[in-house]
Subunit: 248 residues, 2 copies
């Protein structure tokens, strides 16, 4: 099994290093990741300037772009093989609920799916720097083997969140739905030394609706959450309502 590993915390983050190590036990691993942190970039592609790739080792590349750029560049140009699977992470901090749409980690898995390659994103549910990346890495290796053996449903990738607990804590997994964030955007407005106003988008204490069956519900009870996401955002159930509108 040939595996491409990427992330959005940057190539030197502890999560990607632990992940690559665990995956090397089950397959051949290449790493193509951003040269620095690229959080909250969503599914962004760099179109307006050229990208550079620095080779740091055999099949290890740092790119000055987004996770989505890394998947593109890795598969089209940098790697000597086409991966059987793309794994993105281990993200420092959870990717739950609506936040998946902002996540560079999740977007990398989405990009691979668009290219027809099975993929998953994996995140450590930690508030600070995170401790037990090895627990998530071990789960990732097991999941990669299952995906390689069984394949994923069409146009579908997995978003995995693992509690920050020791390997021997007997975690169990749940197949979940994408939860719902309680929206609490906060923006700090301040004056710079020259008296000019500036704004900083802050992250309020994140909170989610505690709905049974969701990703948040599972991880907050100590389970690994595995959410199947797909590329089709269409809300088919609203067709009949909209067709009654007077739009011409």
């Amino acid at each position: 099994m040939k595996i491409l590993v990427t992330n959005d915390d940057g190539i030197h983050a502890p999560g990607i290093q632990t992940l690559a190590g665990a995956l090397r036990k089950v397959g051949e691993v290449a790493v193509v990741a951003p040269d620095r942190e690229r959080s909250a970039v969503g599914h962004a592609l760099t179109l307006h300037h050229p990208l550079r790739a620095v080779q740091l080792g055999a099949d290890i590349f740092a790119v000055d772009g987004t996770p989505t750029d890394c998947v593109n560049l890795g598969i089209h140009n940098l790697l000597s093989f086409k991966p059987d699977i793309v794994v993105s992470g281990i993200n420092r901090g959870a990717n739950l609920g609506d936040d998946v749409t902002y996540s560079g980690t999740v977007a990398a898995a989405m990009e691979a799916t668009l290219m027809g390659i099975p993929a998953f994103a994996i995140s450590l549910v930690a508030q600070g720097p995170g401790t037990h990346y090895d627990t998530a890495a071990e789960f990732a290796a097991r999941l990669a083997l299952q995906i390689h053996e069984k394949g994923l449903p069409n146009d579908t990738f997995l978003n995995v969140n693992v509690p920050d607990l020791p390997c021997d804590s007997m975690l169990t997994s749940r197949i979940t739905s994408q939860g719902r964030r309680r929206y609490e955007g906060t923006i700090v407005g301040k004056l710079d030394p020259r008296g000019q106003k500036y704004y900083w988008i802050g992250s309020a204490e994140l909170s989610f609706l505690d709905l049974e069956g969701t990703d948040f519900h599972a991880v907050s009870r100590g389970h690994v959450s595995v959410t199947p996401l797909h590329l089709d955002l269409t809300n088919y159930t609203s067709f009949h309502v909209l067709r009654g509108w007077d739009l011409k």
Copy 2:
């Protein structure tokens, strides 16, 4: 009706100016938009540096951030009112199929939806600079009135694509599903004047699968395409498959 208008082509693009003009006939309009082009930024939030907003007129602000930043900053800090509806566009070029996940225009509507405000994104299906923004603007005004009157289904926003045709060409609209792109990523690799390699992500001639009922199918036959999108990316149909996996 109070309307917040934004886009990803930048505040000086012809699309947003025509749009704001048409919407002023049906409501009170504020404009908060990026100070320059921010295409393909996806649902990106600026977290790593402060944002500046320059006031260009009554309720008109240019922000040095992404469309998602603009919606946040507009609603939380800049505007004197909470909008009843957010309209993003008129984008220069279509936003069809899987490409909606890259689109800053669509992401702005998604952000408003997360905040509980009805929203739609609107794009002109043009290859070059685009000609008939007035046709799309007129459709936007009519659609805004319908949304204000009837509301949108829960957690749902609309992605609208309008053919680049004159106002009097009697366009009809179709409620469509998100189409599927034929994946053709191209990356150009070149050497700079110092002999160092660089890469540029190119856009191949875009093509989509011509599936009946999709956004692409509608616009390529001269119809306005209206696609209801929602925030929940969960692929519920794959639950039974994944629950059979051996993950512990």
